[in-house]
């Protein structure tokens, strides 16, 4: 994998601190995300990865620290605003709209980006995006279950739908929290395909939390390793694999 070709940071995270009571989930995390790269985020369970994503994306307010998007301070802004600023995401646990059918899940994920609240009352239900939704459904191989409500899909299918929803509004930067978790091999291949396609053809930047090392080492240009709420190191897959500190963090002292 070639390292990303630019050195222009699109996202600058500085000294993020977040505590839940006496538990220090993030103790001053700083890193940059560069335009067009795929950044892998790894670390043992409970090291603060998901908390970090939630702090960056507005689901949580960090106790201190700043997040800059394209040089602008966006720390603590509400999720809808960040979504409209071009940040897409998925969550660690599945988050689809259970009662809605597959196409409606996708349309719901894009409607706030193509119409204001008032004007969306007067738009056609499919927002004139029927063809686009169909293409996305086919590319995620969900065609055979497209008539079903999301709750009726299998776990893997819901996972694919969840990721498709994160991509739907054409985000500039996508945060994925364990996209490979609980997904079978052929589905995993299709997830990988979609990520690489968006990254290479449309220059979409990714930050991906993952426990599946094979998967993340293969697609990530750069890896950020967290341990105990702090940055342990950043480097290429090879550098991370060889580093004794990483092995120690995973296996314990």
């Amino acid at each position: 994998m070639s390292v990303s070709n630019t050195n222009e940071p699109v996202l600058e995270v500085r000294n993020i601190v977040k505590a839940f009571g006496s538990v220090q989930a993030n103790r001053g995390i700083s890193f940059d995300v560069y335009k067009g790269e795929i950044l892998g985020v790894i670390g043992p369970n409970g090291c603060g990865k998901s908390t970090l994503f939630n702090c960056i994306l507005g689901q949580l307010k960090p106790d201190s620290g700043t997040v800059k998007l394209y040089g602008q301070d966006v720390t603590g802004q509400p999720p809808p605003k960040l979504s409209k600023a071009g940040l897409g995401r998925t969550f660690q646990l599945l988050q689809v709209f259970d009662s809605m059918r597959v196409p409606d899940n996708l349309l719901t994920s894009v409607q706030a980006h193509v119409a204001s609240v008032v004007s969306s009352l007067f738009r056609s239900p499919d927002l004139g995006m029927k063809a686009q939704v169909g293409t996305v459904i086919e590319s995620f191989r969900l065609g055979h279950v497209a008539r079903q409500e999301a709750a009726r899909l299998s776990y893997g299918q819901q996972k694919l739908l969840d990721i498709a929803m994160g991509f739907m509004a054409g985000p500039q930067i996508v945060f994925l929290d364990e996209p490979a978790g609980g997904v079978n091999l052929s589905m995993l291949a299709s997830v990988k395909e979609r990520i690489l396609e968006l990254n290479q053809n449309q220059g979409v930047t990714f930050a991906i939390i993952e426990h599946n090392m094979e998967f993340i080492f293969e697609i990530a240009h750069r890896i950020l390793v967290l341990a105990d709420g702090q940055v342990l190191m950043t480097g290429t897959a090879d550098e991370v694999r060889r580093d004794p500190r990483v092995i120690e963090a995973y296996l314990g002292r």
């Binding site: 689901q59 979504s83 809605m100 719901t108 706030a112 055979h144 929803m165």
Partner: protein, 342 residues
Amino acid sequence: MIRETKLDQEIQATRIVEDANEKIWQRIKFGAIVLMVAALIIAPQFAGNYLIYVLSLWAIITISAQGLNLTMGFAGKVSLAQGAFMGIGAYTSVLLVKNGWANYWIAMLIAAVFCMMIGALIGFPALRVKGHYLAFVTLAFNELVILVLRNEEQWTGGPLGILNIERPSMFGYSLFQPVRFYYFCLLMLGIVTLAVWYMIHSPWGRAFKALRDNPNRAESVGLSTTTYTLLAFAIGSGLAGIAGAMLAPLVEFIDPSSFDLNKSLEFLLMVMVGGRGTMAGPFIGAFFAKVLPELLRFANEYYLIVFAVFVMVVILFFPTGIVGIGSYLKDRFFSGKEKESG
């Protein structure tokens, strides 16, 4: 490659069957709606004044239940204040007309807008609390409204309420006669139903459902949960306001107890039993709560026992209400579609 083609063919075949079944189901639904509308229109030919009165009440209650269904059924925000909002609508419109400040139609409009504004205010707590806590906040609001209605005697007539409320005229026709007032109620019910139907099938409907299904996800895809929560409360309360403004001239009398917590609980029950989050739910719920007891009057208090057992069975086995029974039967016997678990 060959396997994939075969799979594609199977998918194609299932789709054709699904399409056909869906079409037949749509026709059955459409037929049922046409029959119901026809029955309601010709009802005065066969029904006496009392039944016409009950059906008028049903139409009004259904309008308000549709409001709660929007707030609770579609947007997932529980409210125990629908009775209070009907009361606010009723008192507002009656006071405006009695004091000669507005004619009935303007008064109804003002009542609806006023209820929407207060509804939006009540929506603010819903941004912070949900479930039981929200139920208690709205319950407290209902009690507050009743207290105001009881105590501000110079305006509201206190516990005795306001008597001799006149029925309005429409396009020069007095709606004094029960049958005319009934057709007015049907017309309003039709207008409200079409408006709600349109809204639920617009992107707004999806936003409301997203709010109910998964507010966290809704926010992360850019939907303002604040805006849609307040909208759901405002519109739901506005419909209660319209219903209140219609109830007053139907009964020709209003008092605080007509809008107390019991009424709010009744609305909750109607939406739950009818089928929350469905278009038909409020119609069915209001029918079970208002019309059926009158039709089964000969059974006396036994009706209440049967009704209570029925409600428990529905809630226990069909959490989506009577409409849920319908879709269960449809899945089971009609389309042959089974729940996919794999």
